[in-house]
């Protein structure tokens, strides 16, 4: 009872603190403090309810149990992370995004192909591509190659659509200016249109970070060597060792957020001129 009462009390107090902080003028400090406090309150509530209501750890382990599990099984988590994220997701991400950008540049000179590719690409991007996973696992075997292939297929179309759209982002005025400089096609592409396309390309890159991790993990459900995050999740669920599953999820969440944050950071450096990057 004390556990639940304490947790609810903490929740109420932190919510009051948050409403108070939200009324202050917006600053960097409150922008970080408010969501952090909210996340902390969620964790405390979770811990309190699990401990207070004696919830079976098979159903929902407490955050502290998960933390202990993470600390005690670091080598396994690292091996899984390396297999799934570095070998599967990352290589597929680089190949898929690279291929999509190259394809977009190749069809760039043909409005006919673009008019055909865009609707088809948009349609394919809305399809449940993840269903291709069993087929690709069959084609490329159980190791990381098949995971990378799934990731390539998943990220290709969102990336293609974004890049093609981005290459049209420069305004007529800017293109005219470049033409008055007597720029050749490659010069115009490199100096004006690719830089102008960067916000769109990074939009696609950011969407693809999540897709890449999902693709690599789900593909492992269809067969994998005896390591990898997806493999671990599906086998530990079968053994009802939920604390290990949550540990993997924590790693996946951390890796996903870090990957996203990393791409967003590069975006800030590359597209510093774009209005959405302005501070202050």
């Amino acid at each position: 009872m004390i556990w639940i009462g304490g947790a609810v009390l903490f929740w109420l107090v932190s919510w009051r603190a948050n409403t108070w902080m939200a009324r202050l003028p917006r600053s960097r400090l409150t922008g970080i403090a408010v969501p952090t406090l909210f996340g902390l309150a969620l964790l405390v509530l979770w811990q309190g309810v699990v401990r207070g209501a004696h919830i079976n750890p098979v159903l929902l382990p407490a955050p502290t149990d998960i933390a202990v599990k993470i600390a005690s099984s670091l080598p396994i988590l690292w091996a899984d992370f390396f297999q799934t994220f570095v070998k599967g997701a990352l290589s597929g991400y680089v190949i898929g995004c690279g291929a999509a950008v190259l394809t977009a540049i190749m069809v760039d000179r043909s409005p006919f192909l673009q008019a055909g590719l865009l609707p088809v690409g948009n349609f394919v991007a809305a399809l449940p591509i993840i269903g291709m996973a069993p087929i690709l696992v069959m084609w490329f075997g159980f190791d990381w190659q098949s995971k990378a292939a799934v990731v390539v297929v998943m990220v290709f179309f969102p990336m293609l659509v974004n890049t093609v759209e981005g290459l049209h982002a420069s305004s007529a005025m800017q293109r005219d200016l470049i033409r008055t400089y007597a720029a050749s096609y490659p010069q115009a592409l490199l100096r004006l249109r690719l830089p102008a396309a960067m916000p769109f390309i990074f939009n696609g890159l950011k969407i693809s970070t999540t897709l890449a991790l999902i693709g690599a993990i789900v593909a492992e459900f269809f067969g994998s060597p005896i390591k990898g995050m997806g493999f671990r999740i599906s086998t530990e669920v079968g053994r009802l060792a939920l604390d290990m599953v949550w540990a993997e999820i924590a790693v996946a969440a951390l890796a996903g957020s870090a990957f996203y944050g990393f791409v967003a950071m590069i975006e800030r450096v590359v597209t510093f001129w774009h209005p959405s990057q302005r501070r202050g």
């Binding site: 948050n18 939200a22 969501p35 909210f38 349609f123 449940p128 087929i135 990957f259």
Partner: protein, 295 residues
Amino acid sequence: MNRKHSRVLPVLTVVLAIFVLWYAGAVALNAKWAEDKATRANITLSFPQLVADTWSQDKPKLPTPHQVAREIWKTTGAMALRGRTFSKRSLIFHSWITLSTTVLGFVMGAGLGILLAVGIVHSRAMDMSVMPWIIASQTVPILAIAPMVVVVLNAVGISGLLPKAVISMYLSFFPIVVGMVKGLRSPDRMQLDQMRTWYASKSQTFWKLRLPGSMPYLFTSLKIAMAAALVGAIVAELPINQNGGLGARMLVGSYYGQTIQIWSALITAAVLAAVLVGFIGFVQGATLKRMGMAQ
């Protein structure tokens, strides 16, 4: 009208190119099996024979479109004609299960998303504390824990459609929150001031200005959410051997190397996605036209 005409030809060309590549790929990928078979039988295949063989194998690496189409017809139309529409072997049965999960999850996700968006627009504290976590929640590969959610909810005694629908809900609420927050904030200063000069209460402003103003945003995000809900439903069907669904069909197909079966489930899922998103597009067109907002 003119714009539409100019797009039909390129799209058809691309689709045609995909079919050509597909058939060529089938020859390339299935050729090894055909040649092995021929060497065992001590015959040499001429090229037309090779092509004919690669396009008609039982368990090809890549089935051809006409094989997939025949399989789909065999498990939908042909079964319906024999009066066994909802037999466990028919794709209509499996599609129905996936469809009901998707729609249930989508409705729950839309409800949750709209409620959260209303809260975020009206409370600054909620905006500042919840919004970053909603965005962070999407960098988590939630699909990866879909099996766990299904297993755990099954263990608590919640079984059937609901656990799978929860996954669909989780995937579909996010685009709706983001779209609705943008939509509910789309009325500009001038319009809000106008409401104030009419002495409108907060709820009147919401119902008469903010909500109608958000409709175009809502429908755009509903389309994305619907596609996401379908993906969620399919992945949620993967983990344990459940009694059906397109995802289960794919898993069984991959266990037994029934590539044609996987492809037919995949194509059916694609058709389902197109129909669902098209339906929302239709409702969008009708609604916005009635509201005088059609572009």
